[in-house]
């Protein structure tokens, strides 16, 4: 607990199995407002699975999700959106054949009083938010498949920002990006954090995580190895948690 403050998100004792494999085994984590919590671990450690229970893609076998201290039921992506949780996926979850504004507003379109789509209003809103997030972004009319990885990722991030997400889940947001675009995403994370959002960040890149996160949680084989503040540990400590599945600080104590 951080000064008795209520966590933005609490995942308590979460469990899910797929065909007898415990993909997530009694894991509990907390996320506070204005905090970036990194989730680290090998492929198949259960990071993405854990977070998909929060985003509504999977339904947990057992466990409890609390948002602002209140217990909530999340059984599909729509529920998750209702609690102001936005997810930015590793496999860029955009409809490639639609343009930026159609993707930004997908599922929450602006409509005219007659109930028809108001594409012009949506494009104007998209221009406003992109001017703030990625001023170089100009290709509003084209389908997003013709955009670069960074431009596409900025559309996905714009979606979260525009709809006033309180909790942001970023699953490998920089995996498909070049150096310059990665920096752009890093800057964006700092800005969102300053606005008081809570961010779950999933990545393989330990160094990147040390720079971007306030705390990191390490998972292995579906279990939580430990959660540490980044200033309390070295990159080597983290690596040994990932690889050996042991928390050096606990062993020292």
């Amino acid at each position: 607990m951080r000064n008795g403050e209520t966590p933005l998100v609490e995942l308590k004792d979460m469990c899910i199995s797929f065909g007898g494999v415990h993909a997530v085994d009694h894991v509990s984590i907390e996320l506070y407002p204005g905090e970036v919590l990194g989730l680290l671990g090998h492929n198949g450690a259960g990071k993405s699975t854990l977070i998909k229970m929060l985003s509504g893609a999977y339904k947990p076998d057992s466990g409890e999700i609390r948002i602002n201290g209140e217990k909530v039921e999340i059984s599909n992506p729509r529920d998750s959106r209702r609690h102001n949780i936005e997810t930015i996926y590793q496999t860029l979850a955009l409809a490639d054949n639609l343009n930026a504004s159609s993707n930004l507003f997908l599922g929450r379109e602006i409509v005219t009083p007659m109930g028809f789509l108001n594409d012009d209003a949506m494009e104007a809103e998209t221009r406003k938010i992109m001017a703030r997030l990625n001023p170089n972004f100009q290709r509003f009319a084209e389908p997003v498949k013709s955009l670069s990885g960074g431009q596409r990722q900025s559309v996905a991030i714009a979606r979260a920002v525009y709809f006033n997400a309180k909790i942001l889940i970023m699953d490998e947001p920089t995996a498909a990006l070049g150096v310059h675009e990665t920096q752009m995403v890093a800057d964006l994370i700092q800005e969102l954090k300053a606005q008081g959002l809570g961010i779950f960040l999933i990545s393989h890149d330990t160094r990147e995580m040390m720079e971007l996160c306030d705390r990191v949680s390490v998972m292995k084989n579906g279990q939580l190895i430990g959660t540490e503040r980044v200033e309390d540990v070295t990159e080597d400590d983290i690596l040994s948690m990932i690889i050996m599945g042991r928390n050096p600080r606990e062993e020292a104590a």
Partner: protein, 440 residues
Amino acid sequence: MAETTSTARGDSDRRAPGSGGVKGAFGALQLDTRLLGMIGAFLIICVVFNVATDGRFLTPRNIFNLTIQTVSVALMATGMVFVIVTRHIDLSVGALLATCSAVMAMVQTRILPETLGLGFGHPLIPWLAIAAGCIVGLAIGAFNGWLIGYQGIPAFIVTLGGLLVWRYVAWYLTNGQTIGPLDDTFRKFGGISGTLGVTGSWIVGVLAVVATIFTIFNGRRRKIAHDVTVKPFWAECVVAAIMAAGILGFIAILNAYDIPQRVLARNFRQAGTEMPEGYTASYGLPISVLVLIGVAAIMTMVARRTRLGRYIFATGGNPDAAELSGINTRMLTVKVFAIMGLLCAVSAVVASARLANHTNDIGTLDELRVIAAAVIGGTALSGGSGTIYGAILGALIMQSLQSGMAMVGVDAPLQNIVVGAVLVLAVWIDIQYRKRTGGD
């Protein structure tokens, strides 16, 4: 394209750069090159057949016939666009048309007049029959969609089964008999027996031109209000003028097809009067074509301006993204197939009215013509892209080929060999086009 246009503020013309030169002027029109290609292909087919038939292909009479022959397949093709865009397929449309046709024929010739005792010729009969057919089509379509969306059976299998089931349900309902003659009012939807005449056709034509011009300039006004760049004013006018000329030209051609003198004389005899000396009349716009235009307009609205349409295209582009965005993709599948079923019923009205009877083989092989029309019209089987007008143009191209070859006197087997080859060729050209232009 769009990013090269300026974003200057103000009410004055926002003009695209490169307004100099023929190429720049052409680019400013922002025409759909794929549509232009299809229209070009259609015109080439028309000219070639016109030469080969010594000018018989491009007569008002043949153009009239071509239009009414295209309507049935074109109606279903607009629905097939949605089905294929969502990465499904519907092989049962011809069989579904037969079932709807059988239901409507039985309702208007047996159930309403005899069983319910309305008597033949009651004014409500055609409308109740059409309503019954539409309900059946909608329900069967929705059922197919439920099997596909909620039960997870592939659309190919559900509709392959449906191809047999609904063809033979139609047979079973009618005992394989030809049912007819159908109601007189009902038959007005078939084409030649129901047209608007010269004045009526011009009125429709002028209304269509007004609606087109309103749509173009209303869209422009809305874009300017939201600071979205628009094409130059003259380009907007050129596009509007081309479309107006096309609509009015089409009406003029249909109005030029005179009703043969013997048919007129017969009509007057039936009315109990003599035909005045030198009397002439024209067919004008068939009601079936009016139905197609209405359906095309509604389907285009649905595709471009409604949430349903947006979700159809989003799901076709990336089903996972659509699901994660909170779209209920299962219910969407039900809706798409229900629309397809309803359009099969509308198409059944036109097809059976044209034949004046319900026949046991009505709509046979229509599934292939409908899928071919949608695909020739640029609907990608990989999902996510396709247009309503493209599918209608695709249906028109197929029908022109078929009747052109019949007029030239090409042997029946060769006709089908050519149509099949054209389908494959059209898709190949489409793939090459997409490669060149980097998709879409």
